[in-house]
Point group: C2
Chain length 207, copies 2
Amino acid sequence: MASEQSDFLESLPRVLRDAAQSFEFDKGAAIFRQGDPVWAMFVVLRGQVRLCRFGRDGEEIVLRCARRGDLFGEVALDSACYQGNAIVFEPTHLQAYPVQLFRDLLDHDAVFARQWRMLLSWQLRKARARIERLALKRAAERVRHYLLTEGSGPAGELELAGSLKEFARELGLAHETLYRTLREMESRSEIERVGKLLRLGRKTQCL
Amino acid sequence: MASEQSDFLESLPRVLRDAAQSFEFDKGAAIFRQGDPVWAMFVVLRGQVRLCRFGRDGEEIVLRCARRGDLFGEVALDSACYQGNAIVFEPTHLQAYPVQLFRDLLDHDAVFARQWRMLLSWQLRKARARIERLALKRAAERVRHYLLTEGSGPAGELELAGSLKEFARELGLAHETLYRTLREMESRSEIERVGKLLRLGRKTQCL
DNA sequence: CGTCGCATTGATATCGCTCAAATCCGGTGG
DNA sequence: CCACCGGATTTGAGCGATATCAATGCGACG
C-alpha cells in the first residue's frame, strides 16, 4: 500500500519471517477482541480486516481498515491486551508474527528498531491527518483534504481501494451524503471522476 | 501530564539534558512553521503551544495542544521538514533538544529507543481514540467518550486543563454547542460538574 | 432466478453551526 | 479604588448541512 509500510514489510528480518504463522479467516470472524492478551502482530496477505470498536448501541466505529500489505496490531506491541477488535470483513489470509520475537528483535536489532520507529511515526502522521480531516465541517472539504493528503501528485489523484461506502466511513460521513457531495463537486468541476479514480480539478489550492 | 509521557521525560539521558537549549516565546510567535527544516524536538516547561494547520480560509485547525510537560515535534524526528505549525498561544518557556542528538541516541541507546517507541505507541493510541471520538455524531456522545477514554477512574473523572472553549475545539464542536450539551447532560444527570471538574453520572456504561 | 450488497436519488427531520447579545471575570492602568 | 478591556461563558433565534428513512436499479454470485 503506502511506501513506508511496504518498505518495512519487505525488509523484515529472516528470523521473523520464519516464525510467521499463516491463517485463513471467514467473514465475520474476530481475529482478536478488545481485552484479549497480545500474542501477535498481523499482516494482511489477502482480504480485509476492520480494526474497530463498538459503541453503546452496537454501532461499529472503524478505526482503520487493513488490506493487502497492511500491518495491524502494532499499537499493542508494548501492551498486555489488544485495545480494539479486529473483525474480518471479507475472506482473509494473513500472517501472524509472535509478539515476543518482535520485542526481542527491537531490543537487539538497531536497524529493525529504526524501521519500526519510522513506521510508527508514519502511522502517527496519518492518524493526525485524519483528525485534521474529521475536524472539517463540510463534506466537500473533507473530500478535498483527503485527495490532497492521501492522493498522489499535485492533482491529488486517487484510486479508491474499496467501495464508496467504505470511503464514506473513512471520511466520517453517511454514504448518501458522500454520493451527493461527489456529484456536486463534479458538477462544479472541483473534481473529476473516472470509475474509481478521483482527481482534483483545476482549483488545486494549498492545504 | 499523562504517565507515559512524563515517564519518558523524566528519564531522558544526561547527554540530552545537557544539550538542551532554553527559549522564551511570546503569544503569537511561531516556534516552527510547516516546511521549516527540522532542528529540534521541544518540551513545554510553561505556557501553551498549539500544533495546528491553517485551512484555505485561514481558519486554525488544532491538531494538538501542548502544555507543561508535553513533548512536541516528535513526528518529525525522521523527516526533513516539520509537518505543521507550532504557534505559541500564551507566553511560553520551553526547552529544545537537538534532533541529531536524538537520532544518534536512538541508534545507540537501546533503553532510550525502547522508551521512545512506547511514547510513539501511546501517542498513536491517543490519536486513534480521538479519531474514534470525532466519528461520533452527537455532541453528548463525544463528551461521554472523552470522559471514558481520557478521564481517570471508572467514573471518568476529569479536571479540565484549559477553558471550555479549548475543550470544544478538542471535541470538534462549536463552543456554544458544548455549553448547551453540558447543561443538558447535567440536567439529565449524565454528568456532574464542579467547577472545572467533570464526572460521569451513575450511568457509567461500557466504552 | 433469487439474494445480497453497493450505488443512487428523494423527502424529511434534526442537530449543530452561525450570528447576536448579555454577563462575568481577571487583569491593567489611571 | 475604579474604569475599562479582552476573553470566556451563557443564552437565544434561525438556518443549513448532514443524518435518517425509504425506495429503486444494478451487478455479482451461488
